[in-house]
């Protein structure tokens, strides 16, 4: 239903051009900005260069504030393999290296280098290279210093696409389709600089070793087509005119248009022996090799609600304000600026953002140009979106799944094949913002995948930790068994000696044995030097232990067993203490009487505190459980876990309290 009705095109080009499914015809708005030649701008007062203007790693800054730089000087070098360099677009002084607002949908700030031009525009020493005869690997490697990235909007570092460790390329496709309305920068580039474009294509051909070369241009650019056809006269470059359908400028769509090859979204066209470059990118390659000029500027269409829409050669880092002024200023009712085209562009956060390598077009928007959409109606399943989708997806199904957070089904219906071109939203009678739903669904799936990875990693670490503790426990029990054997032998030996002199020592040994036994039964990390600790310290340690287990810092067995162990420990310590006191009742006087109530009271207070803490934590857990939603599984789990631990801690505290009471009773009796 929405197939292009280009009869002339069909009749002439059916052999040359393969039409893809779907696509939409858009009102072009190109005549507004392609009447004037490419304009030059005066130097702005400041150039703000974001370090991140490309896909990949942030480059490393090579200059400091106050340095004087020349035009084309490297000020940030590429970091890692997927990265691009930044060069000074004109001579001047580094004014700042700080965060500034980026031209990005998020509006977030990021590190930028600000240059104050000195007005002289002095070039650094440039080094052309012989691209016709030079070693291909050397040439490609030198591109790391060129700062050249894809100028079609993706901003992917170009040297990666020309690296030698890739599949062999037999066909080079130059993307000059420029399918979005309002954008005319590639059109003007071809009209004026066709000779340089052809040289650029030759550079790319040499570096890739491609045999077939095609340049795809939409048929709404007749002047550009004519210029290019004349320019490729004596070369083996083919000019392929494709019908004007949005989104024919998408790389995979263009490859299908000119070659008939379907490249799925999860594969690259290089796996099919095809490489695609934007027409402005190859021109940049030519300028770099032939004249030694790194990437310092690009053509930008300044159009929309401005007084004199035009294309300009803009230095990177030029503030948007400067560009708008050059286009005669924005009309009074301008509400904001859009970077990119009307189908896939985004709102710019302010007029102070800089022009970057990815900025092919700036549209001054107003509510007359782009009317606010009416509220979305329910989907009526008319399937116009499915008819328009260039990837043959079912947008209405993806919409239902995204809306109900059914991400599994959305992925079954190939959510990630969506190129977010917006053709579906364009035709929807219910004005549903379909692309926003898919962006939401995609980001949720990615976030869930990341959370899953993190959870898997945490699980592995926990399992390893449990194994380690098990191993340590076994080592410890072996050690204690050996020590107990030794102590027993010593006891037997001690019994046969003089009795009264050894009662003290006997008591000490008995206490030690009791402790060892108790320690053997517990598998928590018991402290080693417990022989000379006062009862108060011991109580505090027992206290801390229960708190540690409640907080999940120590691994616990079943709460019941723990209670038993704790009770046993406490009882054993109490017994040992009683024994010691019995033995030393004669020698020590009065201290125990004063320490006892203090200990008890002290201990009592601490037990009360622990119980209170446990209660508070439980109350918090209850409240927290009510707040968490069903989707947030991780948090629910934590709460349940925490709940169990808190319950255990409460039980232990209670047991400790009762044990203390029984011990106290025993002592009293």
């Amino acid at each position: 239903m929405n197939a292009p009705i280009n009869i002339a095109g069909l009749l002439k080009k059916t052999k040359d051009v393969f039409n893809f499914h779907g696509g939409v015809h858009l009102p072009e708005h190109k005549a507004q900005s392609n009447q004037l030649p490419i304009g030059q701008l005066p130097l702005p007062d400041q150039l703000v260069l974001p370090l991140r203007q490309h896909i990949g790693n942030m480059p490393k800054v090579k200059v400091a504030v106050g340095d004087h730089v020349l035009k084309g000087q490297l000020i940030a070098e590429a970091e890692g393999s997927v990265s691009a360099a930044i060069h000074a677009p004109t001579s001047g002084t580094i004014a700042a290296i700080a965060d500034a607002v980026l031209p990005h949908p998020s509006g977030l700030p990021d590190r930028c280098i600000t240059i104050t031009p000195d007005g002289n525009d002095t070039w650094i020493e440039r080094h052309p290279q012989d691209w016709r005869k030079g070693d291909v690997n050397t040439l490609v490697n030198s591109l790391r210093l060129s700062g050249i990235v894809g100028l079609g909007g993706a901003a992917f570092p170009t040297q990666i696409k020309l690296r030698s460790n890739r599949s062999p390329i037999h066909t080079l496709v130059i993307n000059a389709a420029e399918c979005e309305p309002y954008i005319t920068c590639d059109d003007m580039l071809m009209r004026e600089r066709y000779d340089q474009v052809v040289h650029g294509i030759e550079v790319a051909q040499r570096l890739l070793g491609a045999k077939n070369i095609m340049i795809g241009i939409e048929d709404n650019k007749p002047e550009a087509v004519k210029a290019m056809q004349a320019a490729v006269e004596n070369t083996d470059i083919q000019v392929k005119v494709v019908p004007t359908v949005y989104p024919s400028g998408d790389a995979r769509r263009l490859v299908y248009l000119v070659l008939g090859k379907e490249v799925p979204q999860n594969k690259r066209s290089t796996e099919f022996g095809v490489q695609v470059f934007n027409v402005a990118t190859v021109l940049a390659l030519y300028r770099y090799f032939e004249f030694g000029e790194p990437a310092i500027s690009r053509i930008v269409s300044m159009t929309g609600n401005v007084n004199q829409a035009q294309n300009f050669e803009v230095l990177f880092g030029t503030p948007l304000r400067h560009l708008v002024k050059a286009a005669g200023g924005a009309k009074a009712d301008t509400s904001h600026y859009i970077m990119g085209g009307p189908m896939m562009g985004f709102n710019l956060p302010s007029e102070d953002v800089p022009i970057t390598k990815a900025a092919n077009c700036i549209i001054a928007a107003s509510s007359t140009l782009f009317e606010p959409p009416p509220p979305a109606m329910p989907c009526i399943r008319c399937s116009r979106c499915a008819d328009a989708c260039p990837v043959s997806l079912q947008p209405q199904e993806l919409y239902w799944f995204a809306k109900s957070d059914n991400f599994e089904k959305a992925q079954d219906y190939n959510l990630f094949d969506c190129i977010e071109c917006g053709a579906c939203s364009y035709v929807c009678p219910s004005d549903i913002p379909l692309v926003q739903y898919y962006r939401y669904a995609k980001s949720e799936v990615i976030a869930l995948d990341k959370a899953q990875e993190a959870a898997d990693l945490a699980r592995e670490r926990n399992e390893f930790r449990l194994a380690r503790i098990e191993r340590e426990k076994q080592e410890r029990t072996a050690k204690h068994a050996a020590r107990a054997q030794g102590a027993k032998a010593a006891k037997v030996a001690g019994n046969s000696d003089s009795k009264p002199a050894a009662t003290d020592k006997q008591a000490a040994i008995a206490a030690a044995i009791a402790r060892a036994k108790a320690q053997k039964e517990t598998d928590s990390a018991a402290p080693k030097n417990t022989t000379e600790m006062s009862a108060a310290t011991k109580a505090e340690i027992a206290e801390t232990d229960s708190r540690r287990v409640a907080a999940g810092l120590t691994e616990e067995k079943s709460p019941a067993a723990d209670n038993d162990k704790q009770a046993k420990i406490v009882a054993a310590i109490a017994r040992a203490k009683a024994q010691k006191e019995d033995v030393s009742k004669v020698s020590v006087s009065g201290d125990d009487k004063t320490t006892k109530p203090v200990v008890d009271a002290d201990r009592q207070a601490k037990i009360d505190a622990a119980i209170k803490q446990a209660k508070v934590a439980k109350a918090e857990a209850e409240a927290g459980k009510e707040k968490t939603s069903g989707n947030n599984d991780g948090q629910l789990m934590v709460d349940a876990d925490k709940q169990a631990k808190i319950d255990a801690a409460i039980k232990r505290a209670k047991a400790a309290k009762s044990a203390a009471l029984t011990a106290k009773n025993k002592e009293d009796n």
């Binding site: 239903m1 799925p264 189908m343 709102n347 606010p372 043959s392 079912q394 199904e397 009678p429 004005d431």
Partner: protein, 339 residues
């Protein structure tokens, strides 16, 4: 707009629905000319009921009323049901039918876009099963009816069930051609003797064949406006024609010819206006073919072997149940994927 894409070229839901209403007008005009103005009364009653019940339901469901009333989808349901029932039916018949269709078959499922069944057909099925006698009392076309009723007579009859003094209902109404055909075939009459009866017109049922032609014109308008595609009407009519042709070739004395089947009953009407309801129908092109073909086959079988003269309503409702299955199995091949 404030987000990409910043432009749109889509017609609104209400403009699509209005065009459907426009496409129904030729059929309504011929209908009124052949059978009298009673149909207009029914249409008005139906529209009023539909809008009123929709407004009440939206208020009860705490949804905004104005945008949904002004999308005219309720009006379409009302008109389709009004055109499907006998024009001289008492006023409460259309009111009950439309109310059921809007309240239960549409709003209770979630309103616009959420109903799994075609609301008009659900309303029709409910009326047919609940009031079978009234639903089969069709007036003969004015041109050959024994007695003709004026517009005021029809108005009176619809609201008060009163007829002019010397006229009885039997003189006004007659069986529909499909109904007549069925009963006569059961009485073992052969096709030749049946088809000379006056209710058979030039190529279809007398009278309604021209209404069908008018609906065909409306359907062509919808196709030209790209509101419907060719898949549904072609597959439905093709299936009926194929089934009818097959049976007729086997035994012409027992089965009517395909042209008759195409222009009788609700065939054309259903092909362009009933099956093309986007909400309850399939979304894939291949799915539409299977859906419509299935509906055509069932319609024919109900006509020949079923207990009702026309089977479109039941066929459509049954295929509506199959839509999720059809959609799942007719997903088109995604770009770059192997099938």
């Amino acid at each position: 707009m404030n987000r990409s894409p910043y432009i749109t070229n889509a017609p609104s839901v209400s403009s699509i629905m209005l065009k459907v209403l426009l496409a129904l007008l030729p059929g309504i005009f011929v209908y009124a000319w052949l059978y009298g103005g009673g149909i207009l009364i029914t249409l008005v009653l139906a529209t009023a009921t539909a809008l009123a019940t929709e407004a009440i339901m939206l208020k009860l469901r705490r949804r905004p009323v104005q945008p949904f009333l002004s999308d005219y989808s309720a009006v379409i349901t009302a008109w389709l049901l009004a055109l499907a029932i006998p024009p001289l039916a008492p006023w409460w018949l259309i009111v009950v039918g439309v109310a059921f269709a809007i309240i239960i078959a549409k709003q209770l499922y979630g309103g616009l876009g959420y109903n799994p069944f075609n609301p008009a057909m659900v309303g029709y099925a409910v009326l047919l099963i609940s009031f079978p006698v009234i639903m089969t009392k069709w007036p003969a076309a004015l041109s050959f009816a024994e007695t003709k009723l004026s517009f005021m007579d029809q108005f009176n009859y619809i609201f008060s069930h009163a007829l002019p003094a010397n006229i009885s209902m039997d003189a006004v109404t007659s069986a529909t051609p499909l109904d007549y055909l069925k009963t006569q075939l059961k009485l073992n009459q052969s096709m030749d003797t049946i088809q000379v009866a006056p209710i058979f017109g030039v190529f279809g049922a007398k009278g309604s064949e021209f209404v069908a032609l008018a609906y065909l014109a409306g359907g062509a308008f919808l196709w030209q406006q790209r509101i419907i595609t060719w898949h549904l009407p072609t597959a439905f009519l093709g299936a009926i024609a194929a089934m009818a042709g097959l049976f007729w070739m086997i035994d012409p004395s027992q089965f009517a010819n395909p042209v008759f089947h195409l222009f009788s009953g609700a065939s054309i009407f259903a092909a362009f206006f009933i099956l093309t309801d986007p909400i309850s129908g399939p979304t894939t092109p291949k799915g539409k073919l299977y859906f419509a073909a299935g509906a055509g086959v069932i319609t024919y079988l109900v006509r020949v072997y079923g207990g009702y003269p026309d089977g479109v309503a039941f066929a459509v409702i049954f295929m509506n149940i199959c839509v999720p299955l059809i959609d799942m199995y007719t997903q088109p091949r995604v770009f770059g994927h192997k099938k």
